[in-house]
């Protein structure tokens, strides 16, 4: 064990003395986390103009109208809909990050849809992660747009609609092509509509101080608000404390740090071989596994330390409050173990330092691309999200976010951690098997 630790400490010392390596393992990830945290500050760090947002649609009304509306959402290109979940299951899926939101069609939806001009409006409840404010707004917009389909926003503005009614009436009167027999019928319809709108407008203006707010005015108009979308936060933070954009960007920074460490250690192992120092290690009274274990321990210690340091900076400087320090520690430990395995595999297949650098960055960047390490997965097309399950970056990010703001329980953390440990163990075993010391 002493020899294993000696190798680990030696490698850490060498890494700290390699300024370029240290920069890419620590300062570069920190820069990424801070830069994007500042860029997304105020936006909650998530959401945007992506397509195919994974959501659940839960129909609690179970009427023909609610089913038709759900079908409309399923067909919407902006959404990737999961159905068949209960409200609790959908909420849980949002909490653990499997879905970005849930859309619940509340009881009474169908009845409200059948009588849009009076009574209670169609009620839809969105459950979204509060840390993804921009995404929540986007979802609300998409749902509202579909709910308003077939109706018009002018129903919420009687004055505007009256103008359009009068204009239509004038056009009708000037239209010589309309048969004379039809004119009285149209006159009667437009006059009745105008009269109704005038009543609504006067009623709305009758309560001073409130008419200035169009939403309130529309609400007071009763049947003129055909849909009500309420948003409920599915908070991943049991403490209820607000999160910020850095809670999203620091886990990504940690991922970049881990990639830098893994690659740095893979290169040092290749260098041991090409520069002859591995020969001295092999002559020493150590087994092959002790030598590789020394490398693994060093890589694990540095990777975990970089991750922990970045999260301490996130906490102290950027007020990122992890929902669970224990879960975050577990996520860091499992992610570090995974990257140790990746390090071993990279070192095994790289014959030279240049090959290790090229291959390493190529593989790691690819994993980052499809795993959400560069662009959040919700902005990615569906097939990339499907493909992302093979990327350890995805699982590592999920685990880290689970500890930082998703409030994962131990059971919820078990899945990403299990995947990470599995990938790490397999990579290490294959790498150790393939590694040729001479």
């Amino acid at each position: 064990m002493n020899a294993v630790l000696a190798i680990a400490i030696k490698d850490i010392r060498l890494l700290l003395r390699d300024r370029m390596g240290f920069f890419f393992s620590f300062f570069f990830p920190l820069l990424i986390a801070v830069f994007f945290g500042v860029v997304f500050r105020g936006g909650g760090g998530g959401g945007g103009a992506g397509s195919g947002i994974p959501v659940a649609v839960v129909d609690l009304d179970n009427t023909a109208e609610s089913a038709a509306f759900a079908a409309k959402l399923i067909a919407a290109s902006e959404l990737e809909v999961t159905t068949g979940l209960s409200p609790t299951e959908a909420e849980e899926a949002v909490r653990i990050g499997r879905l970005r939101g849930s859309i619940v069609l509340l009881p009474g939806f169908g009845e409200a849809r059948r009588r849009p001009f009076w009574g209670e409006p169609m009620s839809i409840e969105l459950a979204v992660d509060p840390s993804r404010a921009a995404l929540a707004s986007m979802l609300e917009g998409v749902v509202t747009r579909h709910a308003f389909e077939g109706l018009s926003e002018m129903f919420a503005d009687p004055a505007k609609m009256r103008g359009q009614v009068r204009e239509s009436m004038d056009q009708m009167r000037r239209d010589g092509s309309l048969p004379r027999a039809m004119r009285p019928a149209f006159e009667m319809f437009f006059n009745a509509l105008d009269s109704m709108l005038q009543t609504v407008q006067e009623d709305s203006a009758g309560e001073p101080g409130e008419a200035a707010d169009p939403a309130q005015a529309a609400a007071r108009a009763g049947g003129w608000q055909p849909v009500r979308v309420s948003t409920r936060a599915v908070s991943a933070r049991p403490s209820g404390l607000p999160t910020n954009s850095f809670a999203l960007t620091f886990p990504q920074g940690v991922i970049w740090g881990m990639m830098g460490c893994a690659l740095g250690f893979a290169i040092t192992l290749v260098m041991e071989r090409t520069r002859g120092t591995l020969l001295r290690l092999r002559i020493a009274p150590l087994s092959r596994m002790q030598i590789l274990a020394g490398k693994a321990v060093g890589c694990f210690m540095v990777t975990a330390s970089v991750a922990a340091t970045l999260m301490v900076i996130a906490r102290v400087v950027f007020q990122v409050q992890p929902t669970s320090v224990i879960m975050l520690a577990a996520a860091i430990a499992c992610s570090s173990a995974c990257f140790v395995g990746i390090m071993m595999l990279l070192a095994a297949v790289s014959r030279t330092e240049a090959a290790g650098n090229g291959l390493g960055w190529g593989v790691l960047l690819l994993m980052a691309m499809i795993g959400g390490g560069m662009v959040p997965l919700e902005f990615m097309p569906g097939f990339i999200r499907t493909l992302s399950v093979v990327s350890p970056i995805r699982w590592s990010l999920l685990a880290l976010e689970g500890g930082v703001f998703r409030g994962f329980s131990m059971a919820q953390m078990a899945a990403p951690c299990g995947v990470l440990l599995g990938i790490g163990g397999m990579s290490f075993a294959v790498g150790a098997r393939l590694f040729r010391p001479d």
Binding site: N2, R13, G276, R282, I283, A284, P285, D438
Partner: protein
Amino acid sequence: MLRLSNLHKRFGQVVALGGLSLHIPAGCIFGLLGPNGAGKTTTISIAVGLLAPDSGEVDLGHGGTPERAEVRRRIGVAPQAIALYDDLTARENLDFFARLYGLSGPQRRERADALLARVGLSDRADHRVKGFSGGMKRRLNLAAALLHDPPIVLLDEPTAGVDPQSRNAILEMARSLRDEGRTVVYTTHYMEEAQRLCDRVAIIDRGRVLAEGTVEQLVGTLGGSSVVTIQTDEGDTRIETADPVGELGRRLAAPGVRGVRVERPDLEAVFLHLTGRSLRD
């Protein structure tokens, strides 16, 4: 004692060792002399367990084979390639390698200090190796082989590419290791080094031992005749003889001798005799 028996090793189609056998007695400097590619480094690598032979056996004393970690503790190796960490200081390098052999903290400090002094690097102990000259690195490379006080020391081309001062220091150190009772296996393709340093020499070529013995034995039996050159007013006379002293005694009595030169055969001549090629070919 180190015994290598009938070692065979191929790298693809290339035969690196073709039945090489050696018995290296304890407490001597044993030279493996041969041109580049003769199989010296392959022999060393098999002897210390870095390479597995295709066939043959290695005995590092008391039946110990290099696959066993406790047997490898008895060996110190200074590889041909300088096996040091450039970004560590000389002392840190030695401390790290000493840890691998399980030396305690005080032991490591004591051994490192003693060896740094022995190779003349005490004043550079806390400097990073990347700033060292080739000779300094070679000396530190040698010191790293001695940290655990091994009874068998294998020096693979330890003077390759070093300045004369470092070369002399390394040769002197090899002698002192022998004087301490260690067995020193010294590979080189420099004939004069082997001749100057080694108690016994094995001449190796193409993976086989061509001859083995003391320098005197090899030169006496395989080196051919000495050449005595007599310089007179009429010119130089070259005489090949097995008895140069007797020949000189007879020739110096004759009148008109202005000078004499005696060329004794050396290991280069032995190699030439055995292979028809020069060591430097």
